[in-house]
């Protein structure tokens, strides 16, 4: 027997707005639809409702009751992301989830009794999970989508409808719970039909002959029969959060404050699905019109909000949008976090997730190309190097002995090379360097020198290099590598032996 749970968020436009702006929960807030004279209330907070604000009231009427009523228009971006969040909550319970829109999702919970003591426990767990995502949800479980939805819409959630007892459950409820078409509802009211049970008691053929196919479907629904199957939705390729702003933002800090909350929600959603963010895309809606889009690649998949926010800050500081911002959306492209099997006997392996977060934070602190794995490069010029993403191999299964040192003299490369003046002299039939004049320690008479060694590189390219290298030891201490770059006569120090 199929069991379907319906997750339902009452007053969804309001719930979506409060998820993005939780501070408004205690205020007298109304969500309005329509413009100017047509603006009317579609949902309101408890504080506003207790003062008499009800859906359908015009904004002018509502303001006459509460002059300081906060009115917010419907925010499609907020609603879309709240729907995504509800969908993802449902996905943590079952992979078969149907998105019915407007704060409703259906979940196939058949076979879940192995994970929960009862369906009531399952429903309560779902309510708690939705609350963690900032959504107040109700849950109903039944054998059909229709009965589950009606059960979820009722107060005192969760409500579980036993299998085969759908018609008994629906019978005492008012007919409006089946949301019939207006014409059919008017006709049925004229017949004196007020409850679902009264409609179910009528002969099906008589209802169908008078109300047509619509009447037959309504009669089926009244008997708790819902032939519509659950149509699962595939997993979305990315995670999106965003909102439209009440007024344009011109400074970075207020925007980052809002973006921080959005990133926090993104991180929670990705964590729920076991994903981490590999790439972040920001789209800003600008005033008076136009959009500004930025893509930020993360050095490693991470869910660390601080890291993502720092990278966002750095990117926007470097590339400001150039106009006031009236809305934004953040899209996180997910990737599986790196996993590793830790060893019992070998050196401790680094936690891949911790490493990814650290590298991302280091990149945000120091900038790109300043953190990574050094790579040797084929060539002849000594200053050559390359840097790549740091992805260490797993440590050996058992601890190895260290390699015996070759006791080699190391070189400190000076990047960029330091320009110096060099005085040469002839001695014993050879050219030798007599002294160096440069900044700081790079100055003084030379005790010993050897060279030159000629290095030619890239003679076939546009930037050939021809240099003559010398090793020099200063009287005051310090051994340096100097070179003269042909065809000029300039001298440089490019390394110090240390």
């Amino acid at each position: 027997m199929t069991r379907i749970a319906c997750f339902y968020v009452p007053m969804f436009p309001l719930a979506a707005r409060l998820r993005s702006e939780p501070d408004l929960l205690q205020e007298a807030l109304a969500i309005i639809d329509g413009n100017a004279q047509n603006a009317h209330v579609i949902a309101a907070t408890r504080r506003a409702r207790t003062k008499g604000i009800v859906p359908g009231m015009s904004l002018a009427q509502a303001r006459s009751i509460i002059p300081k009523l906060i009115a917010r228009p419907r925010d499609t971006e907020c609603e879309r992301t709240a729907q995504e969040a509800l969908f993802e909550v449902a996905e943590t319970f079952s992979p078969r989830v149907e998105d019915a829109g407007e704060g409703i999702v259906f979940v196939d919970v058949t076979g879940m009794e192995r994970h929960f003591d009862s369906e009531t426990d399952l429903a309560r767990a779902a309510i708690r999970a939705a609350a963690r995502m900032g959504l107040t949800a109700r849950v109903g479980i039944a054998a059909s989508k229709l009965a589950a939805r009606v059960a979820a819409e009722l107060p005192h959630s969760p409500i579980i409808v036993e299998a085969g007892k759908e018609s008994e459950f629906l019978a005492p409820l008012p007919l409006a719970r089946l949301t019939p078409e207006l014409d059919a509802a008017t006709t049925l009211r004229r017949w004196g039909i007020g409850s679902i049970g009264e409609l179910a008691g009528l002969p099906e053929s008589e209802v169908a002959s008078r109300l047509g196919e619509l009447g037959r479907e309504l009669h089926y629904a009244a008997r708790g029969i819902d032939p519509r199957p659950l149509i699962p939705r595939p997993l979305p390729p990315d995670f999106r959060e965003g909102m439209e702003l009440e007024w344009p933002l011109v400074a970075l800090e207020p925007f980052l404050f809002i973006a921080n909350a959005a990133l926090d929600r993104l991180s929670q959603r990705m964590e729920m699905q076991g994903f981490a963010c590999k790439r972040l895309e920001l789209t800003l809606a600008l005033e008076p019109d136009g959009f500004y889009a930025r893509g930020i690649g993360l050095p490693a998949p991470t869910r660390d909000v601080k890291t993502m926010l720092t990278l966002l800050r750095l990117d926007l500081e470097k590339n400001p949008p150039g106009a006031p911002v009236v809305g934004f959306s953040l899209v996180a492209h997910p990737d599986r976090p790196r996993r590793a099997q830790l060893s019992l006997f070998g050196p401790a392996a680094l936690s891949p997730e911790k490493l990814a977060t650290t590298i991302a934070r280091l990149v945000s602190l120091l900038g790109e190309n300043r953190v990574g794995m050094a790579m040797s490069v084929d060539g002849h010029l000594p200053e050559r190097y390359d840097i790549a993403d740091y992805a260490p191999p797993p440590p050996p299964e058992t601890r190895r002995k260290p390699q015996k040192s070759r006791a080699l003299l190391a070189i400190r490369v000076l990047r960029p090379p330091v320009a110096v003046e060099v005085i040469t002299r002839e001695a014993e039939g050879k050219t030798q360097i007599a002294s160096i004049r440069g900044e700081g320690d790079l100055s003084g008479p030379v005790r010993m020198s050897s060279g030159p060694w000629r290095v030619e590189s890239g003679w076939w390219s546009d930037a050939p290099a021809a240099r003559e290298y010398w090793d020099v030891e200063l009287e005051r201490g310090g051994i340096y590598r100097v070179y003269q770059a042909a065809p000029s006569t300039d001298w440089f120090v490019d390394a110090r032996y240390d």
Binding site: R361, G372, A374, P402, A410, E428, D498
Partner: protein, 234 residues
């Protein structure tokens, strides 16, 4: 535990150990608690090498093989399969030479900060990630950026201690103050050359002198010398 051993035969009782005894024996074995520099005289000065969880400072203003000790330690750690990081404030690292020295570049995280403050922050982040060896090389005199307060080094030393990371700070003059476990000081090293008169002259290497200036558990004042050979890795 005594009762258990008494109940067992002597051959089996000798093999039964409590968890605390196992931990003590692992700590006393010294094999896992030290990362050697693999330069024997230096290791002898430090009582075997760099203690995990401790900060050792290597100080020398003039050319004295300071960077050679750094590379040798990195080579030792990475060939053992440990994760190592080099915070290279002066941007002096040469991958070709490091590979020649035996450093496994795949296990080495190379970080190039621009100031001492960035270097200390990076070192703290990396240590907290679980790297087994973190080397902070602050480059040549004068230092880029201002000095970090001593409290920052104390905090870094505590982070190293709590994560069991061996930390080596290589600097032209003392930086870490009371935070370090040991201080090694290098003196001016003289180069040795081969080839006299009209014969071509070649740099052969340097003789490095290092003194143990401070150690919390060993008697300071002892000195040693190490010969480092020149190799053309270009």
């Amino acid at each position: 535990m005594r009762e258990l051993r008494a109940a067992l035969g002597p051959s089996i009782a000798a093999k039964v150990r409590s968890g605390a005894e196992l931990l003590r024996s692992a700590a006393n074995s010294g094999q896992t608690s030290i990362i050697p520099t693999t330069l024997e005289p230096i290791d002898a000065l430090l009582g075997g090498g760099l203690q995990r969880g401790k900060l050792v400072e290597l100080v020398s203003r003039f050319a004295s093989g300071r960077f050679s000790i750094v590379l040798s330690t990195l080579a030792a750690a990475t060939t053992m399969g440990e994760a190592a990081a080099l915070i290279d404030l002066g941007d002096h690292f040469d991958p070709q030479l490091a590979e020649e020295n035996g450093v496994d570049l795949r296990r080495l995280l190379w970080v190039r900060p621009r100031s001492v403050k960035e270097a200390v922050m990076s070192a703290e982040m990396i240590t907290a990630t679980g790297f087994q060896l973190v080397v902070v090389d602050v480059g040549l005199h004068p230092l880029r950026g201002r000095r970090a307060p001593e409290a920052a080094w104390v905090r870094l030393a505590r982070t190293a201690e709590s994560h069991g990371t061996a930390m080596l700070v290589s600097s032209p003059y003392p930086l870490t103050g009371t935070a370090c476990e040991a201080v090694l000081k290098g003196t001016i090293a003289r180069a040795s050359w081969i080839g006299r008169g009209k014969a071509p002259r070649l740099l052969e290497g340097i003789d490095m002198n290092v003194t143990l200036e401070k150690h919390r558990h060993l008697k300071p004042g002892s000195s040693t010398s190490v010969t480092l050979r020149f190799v053309d890795a270009s």
